[in-house]
Symmetry: C2
Subunit: 549 residues, 2 copies
């Protein structure tokens, strides 16, 4: 059987646009001889639709679109799509996350998602009732088990800990006689995830000895990035298909002939992070209806990487870099920023902030009279810059990108309404040490886009004379290690200290992390590339303090 | 049996502080002759602990605190507390939301929460495994069914629709022979909720004919406000106890003697909203470690109400009002603000924004040369004010309150990083029409705190000459009605139009609501007083568009 894996990039909510995209892809696949087409999870409305799912009119619209879609696909191969549908039962959540089979001009619902991820960035129990319909259908004379994303992620023999669910829908389908498994997915990208995914899938194929097709969404939807990389395995475990990375794709495989196309890509963290950020930025900007972006260039490595990502994502001609030197800015920073802009081919504007700063200090002088200079005056500068950038954003219809990295956002080394101002936080989930490495990778692979001086200099916010980040923070290697152990590995304070980190550093970092919660609550959406990002999957109380007896 | 309902105000995460509070309340109740004490849900760690629950060290701390608490309560009456505990099973979520009975110096876990709310602001499926332990315990020779919050909210005979769960734990306990029911709750306040709660409880008491004790948390925790109003019913349905509203309380009832104390309060929306906002503001500010607040006074009704709430919550001496007139501000606005400050007894500062505005316009002139004046220049003013207020906040250690109402936040009639800047959005869930009514209620009940001119004048942002809100928005009565139907009642656009609202108005309002999503994503936490607030319970995609075929 020839199956086409339609690796599509939907716009969330845009049902009309998404079904048009599906029809086009099916037509293309039909030309190539596909006998069955498969789309990702919730392909009709895009993933994740979030609270749109709470609206009855939205579910009506999704469900009604199936009729139109079925009519349009009438003379084309049978196609599996993902769609939210009403739960006809009056007890339980009102919606199912379903798969529909469109064939011969009609549609039928063939599967409900059973395992509903409700952790990290996922809220599926908020919307969906647990599946009641086990997805066994006969297609081309073959018993096909249709599963949706998470349904295949609770295999008893593969996982040592099964922390989310007790059921294993896959085992159920096998019991029922499934001869092959299809999985409609919208599984977000994070660094290292694809390795686990391939290992798990190939384990299950070897275990059950059946063909396995996994179709993943691609594209950026708010903070989430989907990488594609759909997979097809023959019954003997051969990998016969792997879709493109971070690109739409129509991937045709022949299950019996064991033919297909296996795309390769650079699996390094640096390459994966770069490609994810480029896609995430392009999609966020365009899906929000913008063409252009604006950002501040400080002469530091964070704004340099953000500018490079933006130029790659949107074209240099659509990126405006703004230099806003203060009396504390070094000439080096200005020169480096201009050099960067030249290498990237982006337009720049330069606005000295001194006139605004003088006006603020003058007006505040009567109120602040006799009180010492402190962080207030540093924040004033950052917020003048935020205001200038937002003015440019408003005036030119260019979305403002923020440039802060994950390490800074963790410890609050950033100014709310200042450098945190913007519509998208491009590198908010990239730790500082990875920022440097990605810059080096970019220079190695794209020619020297980022001046070496920017990568090699000691980081400084330049908000007071001779300021260095290391004046008030541990070195970034140390900071990132402590943060990773506390945030990603969830170790206790004492466990981290026992691994050889200075108590003083650990206590300071955890304290800074805690008191910065209010800033993160108001941060712009940040592109997620790790398993534990600040953002929709980070839900901490603000008005709290932790004391344990 | 004499039971004390300990209506406590915990700090989230502050286990040491919370158990101290519990011990003090139990001692007080013991003196009054209590034979059993009951605290609210998760009283050991406060509700909602949110992602603190994902940390093993945090759960360890909570569980360990039970030993210490049991030791401290050794010679005092048996006490039921709420606590998160580890799930010993390796399959399923790692934590239970539990109730522990502390008696004779030891503790035992007596109940797990079965119904885990996962909708609106609630995320309990994210953290907790569904309860396995049905809470039937014998206390003073009586079989007591112990339930936790939501467990009592799925009664088959009371609810017509049961949209969240299929089980009914209460019915199970009755089958098992429960002779009375105790419910440990942390049930957030919203307007009108207490009426439903009392109706449902009294229905169940009459239905099952047993005594019923409901103990609710009080206090503000981030966006959520808990009103207390704990309830006690005798077996014959008599209401024998009702706790204080928006205050801590130790409420003693005698179930057989049918004695207790029934507190009364003004149940009007205006009174309830006012009391909730005062408590929510006081707790947020203090639990964040602040004493003082600062806010901008525009001469409008929103900043007036916010200032009045702040003065009531924190004392006039802890509120700084800042007037920041521009060339477009009317003399009336300045006079009204000064009059308001005098009536409230709060300190004011006045800073003209013209010098900063001139500096910005001068510096931006070369960049903006030849481009028309537009909303950019209005936003500049709002953001200069935001920067000034944040500078005051930083310099004086005063938390900045934002003053926008729900109607504005809905349609984006507010400037991100401008008037939206601040740590707490006091009236973000109060529709404009209710803002006016609460002001009138305040004046009626507290003397004329808010100048009548402020309440009666036509609303204006004063960001350009002779601007009125009604230039670009429908009248607020109309706007609030459309928003309520779309947001709270979740009617479709066509259904709203068919109820007599102009298509043009409805389409414009829904379009504004959609395009303002990015602003709300970065809004300060707002005190929730309605069933559908923007904030933690509003999870909309940003980079999306809704098209339904």
């Amino acid at each position: 059987m020839k199956v086409a894996l339609l690796q599509l990039n939907p716009v969330v909510g845009d049902v009309s646009g998404n079904i048009k995209k599906i029809v086009e892809a099916v037509k293309k696949a039909a030309k190539d001889g596909a006998q069955l087409c498969v789309t990702p999870e919730l392909s009709v409305c895009g993933y994740p639709p979030r609270d749109l799912l709470l609206r009855e009119d939205f579910i009506d619209g999704c469900q009604n679109s199936l009729k139109e879609l079925a009519a349009q696909l009438k003379d084309l191969p049978p196609t599996l799509v993902g769609v939210p549908i009403h739960n006809p039962d009056s007890v339980g959540k009102p919606v199912f996350n379903a798969a529909a089979l469109l064939a011969d001009g009609v549609y039928s619902i063939v599967a409900h998602k059973t395992l509903l991820p409700t952790y990290d960035v996922f809220d599926e129990n908020r919307y969906f009732e647990q599946g009641k319909l086990r997805g066994l259908v006969t297609i081309n004379g073959r018993k096909v088990g249709v599963t949706i994303c998470e349904d295949i992620w609770n295999d008893k023999s593969y996982w040592k800990k099964r922390r989310h669910y007790t059921q294993d829908p896959l085992a159920g389908l096998v019991e029922d006689g499934a001869e092959m498994i299809i999985n409609l997915s919208a599984s977000p990208f994070t660094l290292g995830k694809q390795f686990v995914r391939e290992e798990m899938l190939s384990f299950m194929v070897r275990h059950y000895e059946f063909p396995f097709l996994y179709v993943n969404q691609i594209g950026g939807n708010d903070d989430l990035i989907f990488a594609g990389k759909s997979l097809a395995y023959a019954a003997d475990g051969t990998l016969i298909g792997k879709g493109k990375s971070f690109e739409e794709d129509v991937l045709l495989v022949d299950i019996e002939e064991k033919t297909g196309r296996v795309e390769q890509d650079d699996a390094s963290d640096e390459a994966q992070a770069w490609n994810a950020l480029v896609l995430g930025t392009r999609d966020y900007v365009r899906k929000c209806g913008f063409k252009k972006v604006v950002l501040g260039l400080s002469g530091g490595v964070d704004s340099a990487l953000t500018a490079a990502v933006a130029a790659e994502a949107l074209g240099s001609e659509n990126v405006i870099g703004v230099l806003m030197p203060s009396p504390y800015s070094s000439q080096g920073s200005i020169d480096d920023s201009l050099d960067l802009a030249k290498r990237l081919g982006i337009h720049t504007e330069t606005i000295e902030i001194e006139p605004m700063l003088s006006a603020f200090l003058g007006s505040l002088n009567p109120v602040f009279d006799g009180v010492d200079t402190d962080v207030t005056e540093e924040n004033l500068q950052a917020r003048i810059r935020g205001n200038l950038l937002m003015a440019m954003s408003n005036k030119f219809g260019a979305l403002l990108l923020t440039t802060g990295n994950k390490s800074e956002l963790a410890v609050g080394y950033c100014t709310i309404y200042g450098d945190m101002a913007g519509g998208l936080a491009v590198i908010a989930d990239v730790p500082k040490t990875l920022v440097w490495n990605v810059c080096r990778w970019v220079n190695k692979n794209y020619g020297e886009k980022i001046p070496v001086e920017i990568i090699e200099k000691a980081p400084s916010a330049e908000l007071r004379p001779d300021q260095k980040d290391s004046d008030s923070l541990p070195e970034y290697e140390e900071l990132d290690a402590i943060l990773r152990k506390y945030i990603d590995e969830r170790l206790s304070k004492e466990a981290i200290i026992s691994q050889g980190h200075a108590r003083e550093d650990v206590e300071r970092v955890l304290w800074l992390l805690k008191i910065s919660e209010f800033k993160r609550r108001q941060a712009a959406p940040g592109l997620r590339i790790t398993d534990r990002a600040f953002g929709t999957g980070w839900r901490m109380p603000v008005a709290s303090r932790v004391t344990l007896p």
